[in-house]
Amino acid sequence: MSLADFNLAVAALLLATIGLGLIRIVLGPTLADRLMAAQLLGTSGIGVLVVLSSVVQVPALIDVALIFALLAAVTVIAFTCRQYPDGP
């Protein structure tokens, strides 16, 4: 097993965690569940990206991972902010 293959295996594993997280997102039932799952997804996504970066030989994927991380933070904010107050 070459290094690239090992990396791929890691990536596949991370992908599997994403898949598990997805089930949680679909099933819910509470907002918190979904939020946590989305966070998990973000984190695993970053992992996949870092690994992929070496597999497909695109160093710029690290930048993409950075954006993922930042967006995860924004997502937290988006989820936790309250609704619009009722009425004008």
Partner: protein
């Protein structure tokens, strides 16, 4: 109002048939695809375009006209949103934890935007991604209760939203007036022209995205005090 059941049966069947034929068509196309026509030409000419990153050179030089019109599409969406009515009332102010998180995230997003803009010349990144970062910063601010997502007053918003398209267009027209031709950048300064366009486009995209998230015409200061 549920769609009739016959439709529910028919549509998937039709789509399946369509999918099979499309797949066949795609396979047929790919088999005939030698993969070295336009792509080769484009990659070869990248050094002449004023940017070293291929996607950036395609986007801002080879197919700059598309990008110009695309900026116009963004502007259209914004003007359309504004035409519908005033913005939604602002979000309530955030709690303490959230406020500090926002305080961290917003500057980071802006810095990242600047970074993406700068690397766009030679690496993945560029006006759209950078603009999206600015937009995300504004959205974050809005969510945290800022009534305009950090945007200035309406006249400035208009200026910023139109700026990218305006600079792009005026540059094209100016070059034409100077004898070079519409959107034809002289070799020596191409890099700088692209950077100017990208910078202004970033601002416009960011502002447009924030304004779109606000979802309506900027409210005047008096109404905003609430």
């Amino acid at each position: 109002m549920r769609p009739p059941s016959l439709l529910c049966l028919l549509v998937p069947l039709l789509l399946l048939a369509l999918g099979l034929s499309l797949g066949w068509a795609l396979g047929d196309g790919l088999k005939g695809y030698s993969g070295e026509r336009l792509a080769e030409v484009a990659l070869e000419l990248v050094p002449e375009s004023g940017a070293t990153h291929p996607v950036t050179s395609v986007l801002l030089n080879f197919r700059g006209y598309d990008t110009l019109l695309e900026l116009a599409v963004l502007l259209t969406a914004l003007l359309g949103i504004w035409s519908l009515g005033p913005a939604a009332p602002p979000y309530p102010p955030p709690g303490l934890v959230l406020a500090s998180l926002v305080g961290w995230v917003v500057p980071l997003l802006i810095i990242t935007g600047g970074y993406l803009l700068w690397v766009g010349a030679y690496a993945p990144g560029g006006a759209f991604q950078a603009g999206a970062m600015l937009g995300a910063a504004g959205v974050t601010l809005t969510l945290a209760g800022h009534p305009t997502g950090g945007l200035p007053a309406e006249p400035w918003q208009r200026l910023l939203a139109a700026l990218g398209t305006l600079v792009f267009l005026l540059m094209g027209l100016g070059l034409m007036a100077l004898g070079s031709g519409f959107l034809i950048y002289p070799k020596g300064i191409a890099k700088w022209l692209i950077l100017i366009i990208e910078a202004t486009a970033t601002l416009s995209i960011g502002v447009t995205l924030i304004a779109a998230f606000l979802g309506g015409r900027p409210m005047s200061l008096r109404n905003r005090s609430r």
